[in-house]
Amino acid sequence: MRAYFLFSFLFFASFLQGQNIRGTVTDQKGNLLPGCNVSLEGTYFGASTNVDGEFEFNAPMNDSATLKVQFVGYKAFKKRIYITNAMPAFTITLKEAFNKLNVVTVTAGMYGTGESVDAVVMNSLDVVTTAGALGDITGAMQTLPGTSTNGESGKLFVHGGSANETGTYIDGILVHAPYSSSAPNMAVRGRFNPFMFSGTAFSTGGYSAEYGQALSSVLILNTNEMPVEESVNISLMTIGADLAGTKMWKNGAITATANYMNLKPYMSVMPQNYTWNKQPEAFGGAINFRQKTAFNGLFKVYATIDQSNLSQQQNLLGTEQSTQNINLTNNNRFVNTNWKGLIAEKWMLKGGASFTYNENYYDLTHTTLTETLKGSHAKAMAIHEANEKFHLCFGTEYFYKNFAESYQVKNLAADSSAFYTDNKTAAFAEAKLYTSTKFVINAGLRAEYSSYLAQANVSPRISMAYKLSKNNQVSFAYGWFYQDPINTQLIAHNQISYEKATHYILSFDKQMNKRTLRAELYAKDYSNLVKYTNQHANAYTNNGHGYVYGVDLYFRDAKTIKNGDYWISYSYLNSERNYLNYPYAAKPSFTNAHTISVVYKHWIQKLRSQIGATLSLSSARPHNNPNQANFMADKLKPYSSLDVNWSFLYRDNIIFHAAFSNVLGANNIYGYNYTPTPNSNGTYGRTEILPSAKHFFFVGCFITLSKTGKENQLDKIN
């Protein structure tokens, strides 16, 4: 009896001490994993692995239990075990989980800002603090590789494509008139305020089948989601003023903006290269409405209305009168609505529609010209994440476009007008498959049919990425891209077809802590480009063709210099085309071989200031000089500009911003206008196309009034 008691006592004593559970945790490659949480499921018993990946704990139980090992970024490991004394050590291997942090993403051609974009290289603030960009989204994008500077245009020229080859999308919906209107050879700006967008993605090619009607590039803008708090924003600038207010309610918010710009005071003080009868003036407003809905959804409306006008004196060469006045009035209305929500588990539905009305009215000395564009785009798409390794997305679209031109000689009753209307339907589907966390492939197909062209097109697209190591990866993208010929060609006749580009992109990415390196090799093949010998002979064909190839390099470093952040972009490209009225294949005037941008930003805490500088250099662009025998054989001067800016945080709600462009005063020439006929010596006279002024100087004050916590910041203004 005594022995039995002693035995049972010892038995329980050993129980009190518990059974010893120990082991080692590694990843699939055999690397030791410290910090894993090891436990017996449903109990408090457990331990963390030490630096050697080892764990050890006692559990006073004598039964089967579930041993569980958890670690961030890995799938939870579970094993049914029977707890006995003298259990051998466990050897546990954790499998990497699929999550956004460790899964490979396709980055070929993609440059993004904001949080939702796969390859983030700039954030939203960068758009407004990049010197030389002057708060213009397009301007900021021009500091990224793959773009060419065309000062007389101000638009985005990507990978040797012309400006109209870049499509702009807001919340997935096409924007028909993304730029402001300006006199010929005067740079335009993007219509949209960068503060309206939480994310900007810019693709230099190889983009998804979701995006059509863009031969070279897409600029994808996503409007802000719910604001954090109600506020009133006031901007006072040397060129005008903005007023914006945000009102919030339980599940929604509305932001209303009004703006007025008038360059008269500024241009009266600063020397200008051109004579203005009326300096540019613009007024407009925007409304941004957001409402949370059923299905965890969000409904957004973004609407803008703008009117601008200007009158400029331009030189006319080789005619009796030496100058002519160009009066331009632009009216633009734009509405974009969209909704997205989860209609069922793993099924997301997105839909939207936009309407654009854009009218340019040119009043010249003897004639008037009215261009009217009415455009609409509706889209519905579903995204199905069948499982973590397979995603499917498909959708359908409808585009409407009506473009009209009306030309009238003054004092004559008759006018000549023309228009075309196109109804386009499209469908697309794309599948994404991960074979592991290291390899992903996207395969997509897009089809379009245009009523005006009475033709269909089908474009396959494919992209893939492979992760070489934790911080290094390679991506490849290939695809066919179709776009309608430009409005002025389509209005002339409809016996032409889509223009086509084929993209090949190979890119290498290296991500280190606060440092990014991107190297990209690309080639693009153009076919079916519109070609003619005489613009008015209606002899348009699709016999034009061309090619582009090049290298893009991008390096961003926010680490090496304390409080400093810089990026360097370099692009090399070589291109030739035989299209439009080109007599033979030649380098187009909007392409140049070498482009470099260096952007630097530095925060100075003592001055509560961020200073920035951007250096842009471009090698000479070709241009056609009729005095030379060969076409496009002459070259402009290389372009250079050093721009600086300074932002000063006066109070937490008052910011002063000053910018000065072309500090060094480089004499940039954007091109030449030639006389239509040679003079008596047989030469064509010419005048330079210059920037509107050598320098641009800007000062603004931005005030935010809001309630934070209990405190009203209104009293901080005095």
């Binding site: 008691f5 049972s8 006592f9 329980f12 004593a13 129980f15 009190l16 518990g18 410290p34 910090g35 894993c36 949480n37 436990s39 499921e41 449903g42 109990t43 408090y44 018993f45 457990g46 331990a47 963390s48 030490n50 630096v51 006073p60 139980m61 958890q70 961030v72 942090l101 954030n123 603030l125 954090v228 708090e229 802590n513 606060k514 409080n563 952040d565 925060w603 805490q605 509560r608 961020q610 945080l649 109070r651 937490d652 809001s706 934070t708 916590g709 209990k710």
Partner: protein, 211 residues
């Protein structure tokens, strides 16, 4: 009989040791947490709180300390910003779980405010404005639920002082409020057992700025 008594005691002891009560387990974990100095110690503590939270799915306190341990870890690293954000992602996950259990607890919003401030510290240049706003809003929610929460009061003062220093202003104007909070701390900080009670040392730190 004697044997029976011994056996009963043994059984009782066994029962006690087999699975401590929630309070015992949390108390033990807090003792260990109180001694944690290194990232490794804090990871072990965070894991321990996580284990308790996975058993006690209706209790927010283990999640609170789990999140707090991760926030402390993010403050301890200087250079590795990716890792700092990863710690804060883990902390945010626990805060979200806590809010699903109890969305009327002032302390949770106070911790959420601290988490936003920790995000701000990682990249003040780019995150300053937004995170300051979010942090302020969370303090507003914490004080709305319990105006006497001393930690929320401290965080509000700390944000205001930080902002004043950033704008090169004197902190003197905050000293009366700092001194009052310090003087009233023990009275305000009468919390149930195992509840968050930290903050007095931090207020003392603010007090040192006043001369």
């Amino acid at each position: 009989m004697k044997h029976l008594i011994t056996l009963t005691i043994v059984f009782a002891l066994f029962a006690a040791q087999a699975q401590p009560s929630f309070k015992q387990a949390l108390g033990q974990a807090l003792t260990q947490y109180g001694q944690a100095k290194t990232i490794e110690d804090l990871t072990a503590s965070a894991n321990q709180f996580k284990r308790i939270s996975q058993v006690e799915t209706k209790e927010w306190l283990p999640l609170y300390y789990n999140a707090q341990a991760y926030i402390r870890m993010s403050f301890m690293l200087n250079d590795n910003n990716e890792q700092r954000d990863a710690y804060l992602d883990a902390a945010q996950k626990s805060v979200d779980e806590m809010l699903a259990i109890n969305n009327k607890e002032s302390e949770i919003y106070a911790l959420q405010s601290l988490l936003y401030t920790a995000r701000l510290v990682i990249d003040p240049m780019n995150r300053g404005q937004q995170m300051m706003m979010k942090s302020g809003q969370a303090i507003g929610q914490a004080l709305g639920l319990n105006p006497n929460n001393p930690r929320a009061q401290y965080l509000l003062l700390s944000n205001e002082v930080g902002q004043a220093q950033f704008f090169g202003k004197e902190v003197e104007e905050f000293c009366p409020r700092i001194n009052t909070l310090y003087a009233n701390w023990d009275e305000l900080n009468q919390v149930p057992e195992l509840y968050p009670s930290w903050g007095k040392d931090e207020v003392a730190g603010l007090k040192n700025l006043c001369k």
